[in-house]
């Protein structure tokens, strides 16, 4: 009876919340108060697929849901990205009958890294994808090894781990486990022999801390590594990006499935590969997955094209306090051969909590913007002085940099008769302030 009422109340709150545009964590929060073990009282589907990691969770989950739905599966998933235990509880109960049976072939959960241990105490995933562990929101997360330890607590027996072989810390979750599937990329034409990053989180072995060597870097410390001492190394992959051509906007998986990319970034190809891996494991044919991913445009609003006067541009939502996210966006801008101006805004470091910490700016490889493809760099926001200082430690000539504390003034400056394409790079916390001043197209 308690189960029945808890589910009913959760559904009612969810229904009411949707009407008034409230988020999806509150109903689950109430349900957990009423019945703390409600998640272990429901009947779950055969497939419970969890996705976690620093970057790419939301995009990967959206892609998996897209492929599975296209192929006739019913999928319950947290599409709003409420990825702590409350949001997951809302998802599960809202997808369940009043008797407690989840009405879906597949339960697909995006999970926050630090809170996965609470969520998966009750719900044991059958398949658990870990995309990557980067320096991400360190003012809350501490550091990648701290997150690793928290995630380790969330892995239960009977779960198949699906790991990014190219991330040395993520791949080490396989230590002492048998049921592991690896995905990753072969040596790619866009790879570099030398590390392209301000810092090196792959310098030392995550197992024994001896120095590691790389035969190739896909980006930052993601690549093919081997420890010089203990034998720890990058594993062979079952699902593999065999080639990529970012100029043409194509990737090939397993040497036979070529996918046209709507977004030409290395991030995107990893997200597609992890979605491909999950869908394959669920039993969808590879050619079909490739067709479903062809030219797929994410709906989560992280890449937005806009017009500003006579100019056009793209907003690349990047995460503040996440240098690899910024590096990816900067790489996209600096590869724009027709020539672009770049706007960077740091106004509120986070939308969810307060911090004034800008240490993470020093982990971003802004030097990449010292390229003939990048013409003018515009810096803006409350922390513009910190941006100016950070750029003074690059070799970018200062006359190419303009700075404005006020975002409106920065946008006015860009609203000129210049013909260069505009790349705006900023975070969820600040992108609304920019979008309010341009026309989305």
């Amino acid at each position: 009876m308690k189960k029945f009422f808890t589910i009913l109340i959760c559904k009612l709150l969810r229904f009411a919340g949707k009407l008034i545009g409230k988020g999806s964590s509150k109903p689950g929060q109430v349900a957990l108060k009423l019945c703390p073990d409600i998640l272990s009282r429901v009947q779950l589907p055969k497939y419970i697929i969890a996705v976690t990691g620093s970057n790419g969770k939301t995009s990967t989950v959206e892609m998996i849901a897209h492929i599975l739905t296209k192929n006739g599966k019913t999928v319950a998933w947290n599409r709003e990205g409420s990825n702590q235990i409350e949001g997951v509880t809302t998802l599960v109960l809202d997808s369940a009958t009043l008797g407690g049976r989840v009405k879906a072939d597949i339960l697909l959960i995006e999970s926050d890294e630090r809170f996965a241990r609470y969520t998966f105490r009750y719900i044991h995933p059958t398949h658990y994808v870990i995309t990557n562990l980067y320096r991400d929101q360190l003012t809350r997360n501490g550091h990648p090894e701290w997150v690793y330890d928290a995630l380790l607590d969330s892995i239960t027996d009977g779960t198949q781990l699906i790991l990014n072989a190219d991330d040395p810390l993520v791949s080490s979750f396989a230590q002492g486990r048998k049921d592991v599937v690896w995905f990753g990329a072969d040596k790619l034409s866009s790879d570099t022999e030398e590390l392209q990053s301000v810092y090196n989180d792959g310098a030392y072995c995550p197992i024994c801390k001896a120095p590691m060597t790389y035969t190739t870097h896909h980006y930052n410390h993601i690549g093919h590594y081997a420890c010089t001492k203990c034998g720890y190394k990058r594993q062979n992959t079952r699902y593999t990006i065999t080639s990529v051509d970012l100029d043409k906007g194509e990737m090939t998986i397993d040497g036979k499935h070529t996918i046209t990319l709507a977004l030409k970034s290395l991030y995107n190809i990893y997200n597609i590969l992890s979605a491909y891996t999950v869908a394959s494991i669920v039993g969808i044919d590879g050619a079909q997955i490739a067709a479903d991913m062809n030219n797929y445009v994410l709906k989560n609003g992280r890449v937005i094209t806009f017009e500003l006067g006579s100019r056009r541009g793209t907003l690349l939502t990047s995460k503040h306090e996440n240098s690899i996210s910024y590096d990816q966006s900067i790489r996209v801008a600096s590869a724009y051969k027709e020539g672009c101006d770049v706007l960077i805004i740091v106004d509120a470091v986070s939308r969810k909590y307060f911090t004034s910490d800008v240490s993470w700016l020093y982990d971003i490889d802004f030097e990449m913007l010292n390229s003939d493809n990048v013409r003018q760099i515009v810096l803006a926001g409350t922390y513009v002085n910190d941006l100016v200082t950070r750029f003074s430690y690059t070799d970018i000539p200062s006359e190419r940099i303009k700075s404005f504390e006020d975002i409106g003034e920065a946008v006015d400056h860009l609203n000129s008769d210049r013909s260069e394409y505009i790349y705006a790079i900023t975070c969820f916390s600040d992108k609304g302030k920019f979008l309010a001043k341009v026309r989305e197209v």
Binding site: R135, L138, T139, R140, N141, G142, H143, P144, E145, W146, D149, V198, Y199, N200, A203, Y204, K209, P211, F354, T355, S356, D357, V358, S359, W360, L361, Y362, D363, T382, Y383, N385, D386, V388, T389, S392, Y393
Partner: protein, 237 residues
């Protein structure tokens, strides 16, 4: 002038490397010829050669690796400190100078023993926070961020007083250590860029004269804004 960036690759968790970039810049702007040596675990350095020695912050596991390597330098580091060399240790690096370090599982190792303090880590809650600190040797407060999982007990002469944010342990209003011109603080990241007055203070000790400081324009403006934001937060909370 010679600068030593010890463990530049393994103790560089929060952009700490930029402290050495900033020190190099102010010394060069003041007319000095500057070289920087970057040393990793397993390599060797002669501490007598240097005008400035820096170690940044690392993960708990990396700090233990580095501590074992640092033991070979214990006497040389102590001599450098005794002779007045300017040494800056930020984040958890200065923890290595205490009596003991105990990890979250209860394993204890000895520190270098320069100080009598003890360090105890836990693995449940990360201790993080924006901070405002003050001290007697600077007229303006320091701003920054602390990111650690340890508490430190037994510091007799603290470096800073805490106005806002975490101190040595839960509820502590003191932070960091000092011995001659060695400064140890849990502040993380580019402390010397966020606090241009600390940079000029240390540079003056190294140079023996006032450094060139008129170029610190965006640094000073950034400091004022951060201090304003932190004060607003502190008074509102």
């Amino acid at each position: 002038m010679k600068l030593l960036h010890l463990y530049h690759d393994i103790m560089n968790l929060y952009g700490d490397y930029a402290n050495v970039s900033a020190m190099r810049r102010i010394l060069e702007k003041s007319g000095a010829q500057v070289s920087v040596d970057r040393i990793s675990p397993g390599e060797n350095a002669d501490f007598a050669d240097y005008d400035f020695i820096y170690i940044g912050s690392g993960t708990e596991r990396n700090q233990r690796v580095v501590l074992e390597d640092l033991r070979k330098y214990a006497d040389a580091l102590k001599s450098a400190v005794d002779s007045g060399t300017v040494v800056l240790m930020t984040g958890n690096s200065f923890e290595m100078l205490g009596k003991t370090l105990t990890d979250a599982k209860g394993n204890t190792v000895n520190g270098l023993g320069f100080f009598d303090f003890t360090v105890t880590e836990q693995n449940k809650t990360r201790v993080t926070g924006d901070v405002i600190y003050t001290c007697d040797f600077l007229t303006q407060p320091l701003v920054g961020f602390v990111n650690k999982c340890s508490e430190i007990k037994g510091i007799s002469e603290p470096l800073f007083r805490v106005t806002m944010g975490p101190g040595d342990f839960d509820g502590s209003r003191e932070e960091g250590v000092r011995m001659r011109e060695l400064f140890g603080t849990h502040l993380t990241g580019p402390v010397l860029i966020k606090n241009p007055h600390l940079l000029t203070y240390l540079a003056e000790k190294i140079l023996g004269k006032a450094p060139a400081d008129d170029w610190l324009v965006s640094e000073r403006a950034g400091y004022q804004i951060t201090l304003r934001e932190l004060k607003r937060r502190n008074e509102g909370a």
